[in-house]
Structures are given as C-alpha cells and as structure tokens.
C-alpha cells in the first residue's frame, strides 16, 4: 500500500501552482484500466485527470529533458527514490536545467507488476491496492493476493528508499537498502558457458526490437542513437536473426554502463518480459568488483569508472576467469 495517495499529491500540486512556483507538472494520467496509467503533463485545468496508484512506476527523470526546454517556468515533478538517482545522473551529464525543475520526493512502497497480476487471471477488471491486493475479475470472482507476491522484480530488490535529490520531500526519507539485486547475476555466472548461452538465447530470441527499453531508459539520451543512424553500421529496425538480437542488447547495455542507475525501467516496459536488468546489473557488478563500488547518480558530478582509469587496473584477461569451467 502506498503511504501517500492521489489527494495528497493533487493538494501539493495545487499549492505550488497557486503560489506560482511551477506552471505545470508531470504526472500520471488514467487509462482504460487501473494499470494503464500514462505519463502526461498537467496544468491547473486538467488536474482532475491526475492519478496516483501502485502502477505509477514510470521514471520521470528522462521526461524532464524535453519538458524543461519548453518553458522558462519551473515544472513540478514527483520523484520516487529510484527516480532521483536518474535525476542526478542526468544532471551530471548536463541534460537539463536544474533551475527549471521543482522536484518533490515521494516515498515508495514498491510498484505492482501487472504481468504478475495477469498471471493470476486473464480477465482482470480492476485492482485495489492494500496489505492484501484485491483483484476484481470479470468471471473468476474476486482474487486476493499478498502484496509482496505481486511486486515488480525491481521493487523486490529495491536498492534504496533514500531520495538523493529533491526540493521538497513528502513523508519520511528512507535509507539505502542492502538489496539482493545481484543474486540472479551471480547465479547465472555460476552456470557453465553452455547453460548461460542457452539461457540468453532463450531470453533474447523473444526480442521484437520495439526499442522500448532504449526509449524509456533515462541513461539513453543521445540526440541521435547509433541504432537510428544509417552511418553507424549498426542501424537495424528489426531483430532479423540471433546475431542482431545479441548485438543490440550488448551494445545497449554497454552504452549505459557506468551511467545506469539500475532503475529497472527497461525490464518494466519490455513487452516480451526479457530480464534486461540482468545485463545492466552484470556491468554494474563488474564495475563494482573491478574498480570499486560505484552507484551512478548517488551524487551529482561523480565520474563513472568507465571514463576513468588507474595505472594498475586489471587486465581484460583477468576479467574473465579463464581457468574456471574451462
């Protein structure tokens, strides 16, 4: 159950709009169903359409790049703890003007995964959040489930409930958590190369190259992506074969290595449910292991290990343990 509700956020938005601090806000708009929330820009006129529920997982940091360019006035944005890391990372990269944003930190108890809910029934009509989640269905009756079981993967392994950037905070600030987010990466690493290959072949072959993971990623902010550039030699609009799938996903993950804050948006938006965060987390874990712990976005202005070096770094041959499984 989320600690804060729609009314609290609307009251806060009204207060700031009336005071003239901001002239618009980024928020979530209701869709046909409870889980169909979509990011939208609101002004005082259409604030009635604003919703907030446990499906409002979208990371607004990336939206700020386009939104802050539209007006000199400030835009109000509500940021969950994980969003604030992306917010800082984008500031580090000078992607938007901090002066044009009024960030309000909101606590988060984890967002629900609609795929897990659909796994319980194929005719879900509405979802009511709470300690136990009530799911109304069309002809399966009412289903209840523990909230824990319906949480998105990224929320189950939440890395931090602490806001690292905000102008104002609603509620209490949390702490950086001791998460188990690398457990799955470690499990994969412990497999044999053949098993790993089979695992990824199975996952990546589902890719339809919709580019949603790239489009939603707060770290993917190039004006022109290599995958859209006909001169890059990488442009390809369809996952034509196995190689293309692997190429896209390796390069996508590599391009955000050191800048990925592990917000988990890539996996959330993937229509094929590919665990893309496992690729990003592999890079994060390697960077932590090889070059010291580094959390992208924890502070503004930090230098990512991939654009840095020391004279006694480990050799690439040592990075891959060549003796084991050989």
């Amino acid at each position: 159950m989320q600690e804060i509700n729609r009314e609290t956020l609307i009251a806060k938005a009204k207060e700031l709009l009336d005071a003239g601090t901001v002239d618009r806000l980024l928020g979530w708009k209701r869709g046909e169903f409870d889980w169909d929330v979509t990011p939208a820009v609101f002004t005082a006129d259409n604030l009635g359409e604003f919703v907030y529920n446990s499906f409002c997982g979208a990371n607004f940091s990336k939206y700020l790049i386009a939104e802050t360019r539209k007006s000199e006035k400030k835009v109000l944005v509500f940021l969950k703890p994980c969003d604030t890391y992306s917010f800082n990372q984008l500031l580090t990269e000078h992607r938007f003007d901090r002066e044009r944003v009024y960030a309000v930190g909101i606590p988060c108890e984890g967002m629900l995964d609609v795929a897990k809910i659909r796994g319980l029934s194929d005719n879900v009509a509405s979802v009511t959040d709470g300690e136990t989640v009530k799911i109304e269905t069309l002809w399966d009756g009412e289903i209840t489930s523990e909230r824990e079981k319906l949480l998105a993967e990224r929320c189950l392994n939440c890395k931090s409930k602490k806001h690292v950037a905000y102008d104002e905070l609603i509620g209490e600030d949390g702490d950086v958590l001791d998460s188990h987010r690398f457990d799955e990466v470690e499990r994969l690493e412990s497999l044999t190369p053949d098993e790993r290959y089979a695992f990824w072949q199975n996952e990546l072959s589902r890719c339809i190259r919709c580019n949603a993971c790239r489009d939603v990623c707060p770290a993917c902010t190039c004006e022109k992506c290599v995958f859209d550039n006909p001169n890059s030699g990488l442009e390809n609009k369809a996952a034509a074969n196995e190689f293309e799938e692997k190429l896209f996903h390796i390069i996508r993950a590599f391009h955000v290595a050191g800048r990925c804050t592990d917000c988990g948006e890539c996996s959330r938006v993937c229509p094929q449910h590919i665990p893309l965060h496992l690729l990003n987390r592999k890079f994060i874990r390697d960077i932590d292991n090889f070059y010291g712990e580094y959390q992208a976005g924890a502070e503004v202005g930090s230098r990512a290990p991939i654009v840095n070096f020391t004279t006694d770094d480990l050799e690439p041959s040592e990075a891959v343990r060549r003796d084991e499984n050989a």
């Binding site: 190689f243 390796i250 390069i251 690729l279 592999k282 090889f290 991939i306 004279t311 690439p316």
Partner: protein
C-alpha cells in the same frame, strides 16, 4: 564433397604506433605467423569500439584480438588505459552471454616486440582453431 582443413579467420586490431610496427618488425625479421590473421590498423587501441568487435564476429571472424601499446606507453598518453577498462567489461559480458572466452583477447605489443607479436598470433590462432568455427556470434546472412 571436398574436405578442406578448417582455418580460423582472425581479426587483429593493431594500434598504429606500437603493435602495427611490431607486426612490421615480425615481417622484417621473417618470423612466421599464420596468414589467417587479418590486421586492421587503428590510430589507437581505444579507437576500437565494442561494436567493432561484434561486427568482426558478424562478418565471419572466429576470433578477435586487440593489440595496443603497453600501458603507460600510449602515443596519446592514456588511450590504452581506457581500452583496458572497456575491454575488461566487454569480455566479461561476452562470457556472461556464454560466448567462448578464448575468442577474444587483448595483448600489449610494443614496436620492438616483433617476436612477441608472432608468438601471440601463433598462440591465439591455435586456441581459436581448437574451438572451431564461431557459431554463437555468427550472422548467417554474412556467410558466403
């Protein structure tokens, strides 16, 4: 059916200042290394983008080796330090995806190390030949 001996195709990215000159020296000294190694000269080892390596595999390479100046000796002072971090992460990722780890390598070869260049290539070609053709990162559309 004609049976031919399998010969791996190796792409070697060599930096202009050290390794390429090292390959030259190997030639001058008449040190033999397999003709399966195709050298691509790059201004600095850090010019090599991870996608170059993947594209080499796509276009039919069975192994890719990247040669640069010894750390500290880069013509551009620090280029190969970045290469070292980048390739450590890339190779670790390829390994994570189950690609054979012997197919990729980074070696530091100076302009004076013609013998090391030839020995490295002989060793690398031998290891890749033992693995056989690259199946896990091949692109069937690029097959002749």
């Amino acid at each position: 059916m004609q049976v031919t001996e399998y010969k791996p195709l190796i792409v070697a990215f060599c930096c202009n200042w050290c390794s390429y000159a090292g390959a030259d020296l190997a030639g001058n000294n008449r040190l033999a290394y397999p003709a399966d190694v195709k050298i691509i000269r790059v201004p600095c080892s850090c010019r090599v983008n991870p996608s170059f390596i993947l594209r080499a595999f796509q276009r039919g390479a069975d192994g890719v080796i990247l040669c640069g100046c010894h750390p500290g000796d880069c013509h551009y002072t620090t280029g190969n330090y970045y290469t070292r971090r980048r390739m450590a992460l890339l190779f670790s990722m390829l390994d994570y995806l189950g690609i054979e780890r012997e197919r990729t390598r980074v070696e530091w070869v100076s302009a004076a190390e013609g013998a090391k260049f030839a020995a490295t290539m002989n060793d690398f070609v031998g290891k890749v030949a033992a693995l056989g053709p690259n199946k896990r990162l091949e692109d069937l559309r690029c097959k002749k």
